[in-house]
């Protein structure tokens, strides 16, 4: 993979018609607030879109950027190239070079009298000045970020009244004065922006009849958990997983559940095991370092057949790594991090909206199969806000905790065909047992006999292997002799790259795997039938996904690995260029 940015093109044929906007400012300048309001207003107006928050390692302050992409069609990835860059100020703005790519067609907007850093002006683009702070000063309670918001709305043809609806709603608590000041600000900004000539046109096809949601991947995972039946959560805060917990704490309460802030991740995973043993579906959210601490007890959940769900919102590693940026490099620890032979479930959401389904499904699988499910989300899915269609209402019928009354011959770890044994919960008379991480006989009595070990090992593996995961195992689309095989958040840029290739008449297959463990060799081989070239795309320096595929699957044709570490996102253009380069090689 070429690591220069020069590969980037403005090629957008086949990609959704969209506008990318970067809103930049130092801490306290309110760019995130303004960006969020712009996104919500776009949703109000019937558009789709997404917004990523990008900031440096500072806890507060420092430079921050709201990166938006708006489109009449659903979008699941950034392009990398931006149509508009608006900076409220330019302090430390150069640290976003690499993340925000501009070209000669881009518009760069700054406050009157500002100095655009060379690293930014060198990329090209038309520079325009607006009197952001001057206008803000002329309004009582006015702020430059609101002036900027109005200017942006005007530039992209977003109805100002959609913004007014959003502002009125979000500032309700602050009172009418604050609302008035903000609205005056956006109007002033909008007036100024109408003066800018040659504005690119964004064709909008609003679909107002459709219910539109504004949601982050982390919130979606939280909702998926509750829909999946989770009512007990124990967790220790860690970026970028914390928002799952922040969303769950009040919402679990509403549905009669509870979130406990534990003393560490060793405690959180073990509290889940206790909650689940008591009959309550239980989940935690963490990131790589927390997952590392939990592994011993995830093994206990597997051995004792106690359902638990662990959502790992991955960030750059190893060690503390790059906590605020995305990477797909926890695949190995999720797949192989448990000691002993410990078959379990590993799944990965492939879009922001899919964090809901995948977390719900992971809960269903853990409950039904009495095992541990690890969900591999990541920072880019978790912390990006997207406008999506109302997600489908899916409900699974869980059958894991199958004992409802006393059975004469109750054996908690009975060896049977399905491998799923009856599970009682405390309170059921006559079905007492001791759950154990020690190897055990069918009754649960500790045993080091070879026969018990092999029977229980087989049983714990069999129940996962025999289960019918249906079509949920992967997203498979397109045809052709070239396939791109990917997973998780890399699916967005890969899909868009394939649309671009298709617009040129090329046929490329997309396979994004949601189910990573247990492996699905027959399904993958069937999906790859007729394929001669496979490009494996992942955001990971060690090519962990590529090696996983090589280890477990018998794949046809030639394979090529495109393994790019964070913190920069994989862009559709990168994947497009890689496929083309291979074709022409």
């Amino acid at each position: 993979m070429n690591d220069s940015t020069s590969l980037s093109s403005t090629n957008s044929k086949g990609a959704p018609h969209s506008l990318s906007i970067a809103l930049l400012g130092s801490g306290g300048s309110g760019v995130m607030t303004a960006g969020g309001q712009l996104l919500d207003a776009a949703g109000q107006a019937g558009w789709y879109g997404m917004m990523t928050r990008s900031s440096g390692p500072q806890i507060r302050g420092g430079e921050a950027a709201a990166l938006l992409r708006l489109s009449p069609q659903p979008v699941e990835t950034h392009k990398g190239r931006f149509d508009i860059l608006l900076a409220i100020d330019w302090l430390n703005a150069d640290r976003f070079v690499g993340e925000i790519i501009l070209d000669e067609k881009s518009i760069v907007i700054g406050d009157n009298g500002g100095t655009v850093p060379e690293a930014i002006s060198n990329m090209g683009g038309r520079y325009v000045e607006l009197p952001l702070s001057e206008l803000a000063k002329s309004i009582s309670g006015g702020r430059p970020n609101m002036v900027a918001l109005g200017a942006l709305a005007q530039l992209i043809g977003l109805p100002i009244n959609a913004l007014e609806v959003v502002l009125t709603k979000s500032l309700k608590k602050k009172g009418q004065e604050a609302i008035d000041a903000s609205i005056s600000g956006i109007r002033a900004g909008a007036d100024q922006a109408s003066e800018i000539p040659d504005i690119p046109d964004l064709k909008v096809t609003p679909s107002p009849g459709r219910e539109r949601w504004s949601i982050t991947g982390n919130e979606a995972a939280g909702l998926g958990a509750i829909r999946g039946g989770v009512r007990f959560v124990a967790a220790y805060p860690i970026t970028p997983g914390t928002e799952i917990l922040e969303w769950l704490a009040p919402n679990l309460k509403k549905v009669g559940g509870v979130l406990v802030q534990a003393e560490d991740e060793l405690a959180s995973i073990n509290q889940l095991i206790g909650g689940s043993f008591g009959g309550t579906p239980s989940l935690t959210a963490t990131s790589g370092p927390g997952l590392a601490l939990m592994t011993e007890s995830i093994g206990l959940a597997v051995a004792s057949e106690t359902p638990v769900v662990v959502v790992d919102v991955m960030r750059g590693g190893p060690s503390t790594g790059i906590p605020t940026k995305s990477e797909q490099s926890d695949l190995n620890i999720a797949l192989y991090g448990l000691h002993g032979d410990a078959p379990h479930i590993v799944v990965a959401p492939m879009s922001i909206g899919d964090c809901l389904f995948t977390t719900q499904w992971a809960t269903h699988l853990a409950e039904t199969l009495q095992t541990a499910s690890i969900v591999l989300s990541d920072q880019s899915l978790g912390q990006t806000r997207a406008l999506i269609d109302k997600p489908a209402d899916i409900s699974f019928v869980s059958g894991g905790r199958s004992i409802t009354s006393k059975a004469e011959s109750f054996q908690r770890y009975a060896v049977n065909d399905s491998g799923v044994s009856p599970m009682s919960i405390p309170g059921m008379p006559g079905c007492q047992y001791t759950a154990d991480g020690l190897e055990h006989s069918p009754t649960g009595t500790p045993s080091s006999r070879a026969e018990d070990h092999i029977q229980q090992l087989n049983k714990r593996k069999r129940k996962l292997d025999l289960f019918d995961y249906g079509d949920h195992w992967a997203k498979v689309s397109g045809d052709g002799e070239t396939a791109v095989l990917t997973w998780g958040s890399s699916t967005g840029p890969v899909s868009e790259a394939i649309s671009m290739l298709e617009a040129e008449g090329k046929h490329v297959r997309l396979i994004s795997m949601r189910l990573l463990l247990p492996i699905q060799p027959e399904r993958l081989v069937a999906a790859l039938n007729g394929v001669e070239k496979i490009l494996v795309v992942e955001q990971c320096h060690g090519a962990q996904f590529y090696h996983y595929l090589r280890a477990h699957y018998d794949l046809p044709g030639q394979m090529r690995s495109m393994a790019v570490p964070g913190p920069l996102m994989i862009r559709p253009d990168d994947v497009y260029s890689e496929v083309k380069a291979w074709e022409n090689a």
Binding site: D40, G43, Q44, R212, W213, S214, I215, E219, L223, I226, R227, R231, F232, A234, N251, K253, K254, V255, G256, V258, V260, A262, E263, D264, L266, A267, S268, I269, N270, Q271, I273, G274, G275, F277, G278, G279, T280, S282, G299, L300, S304, L387, K390, D393, T404, P426, G427, M428, P429, C431, Q432, Y433, T434, A435, D436, G437, L438, G444, T445, P446
Partner: protein
Amino acid sequence: METANPCPSLKPKDYKSGTKPVWCPGCGDYSVLLAITKAMAEMNLSPENVALVSGIGCSSRLPAYLNVYGFHAVHGRALPVATGLKVSRPDLTVLAAGGDGDGFSIGGNHFMHACRRNVDMTYIVMDNQVYGMTKGQASPTTDPDWDNSKLTPGGTKINPYYPLVVALASGANFIARASSTDPNGAAKVLVDAMRHPGFSFVHMLSPCVTFRPEQKDWKKMVRQAPVEPTTDPAVAAKRLMTDDNFFLGTLYKGDRPAYQPELKATVDNISDLDKGFIL
């Protein structure tokens, strides 16, 4: 769920599973098991409404020998498992048990936070001042000059840890000591502990006859504390700081309310949560 008819009078043996313990003959843990069954019988608990969670160690083998719900977890993590269980199932009587290594070394952080969190449960630490299961290494409660372990030739040279003092400082709501050498007395303390709301800590002296045979003398050294349980942490602090490790009985009873979040839904339908996302 079926509700149980509490049997009018269960005997201690009704709480035993019948599985034969792996313990060495003469191990103190046999009498702890007996004391627990006596306490449960005294309280006439329905076995299906009781759960006992343990970690790893000789002492932690206990759940398999009882006829209540049990969880034999990993080393050091009995308390978080018990916490998750009790918080989500407040209807159950929850106990946690284990050794001094399990509770004060590898699980030391959980001990402190369990005391502080004050979930209504009883934690029994069977202290033999040694790691029995791994064949005799020093534990946090071992004296500095005990030199029978190859790992610490000449002794640890580190002062032992005072679990009762730590428990008090961390906020435990009930602190007592009992001894396996007096199962009836221990049963009484356990009943007291289980009845007291919040986190109850019972320091249970339980000799390891194999790696600390000198502990057989504990029988002669233990004695009833000549005091009533105090509710005053300042009095308790003085008492526990000057304690010689052999006073038995309930030493402190606090009145902090137990931690138990209410588990009551306030919405009729979970689709209510969708509202926060709809534009």
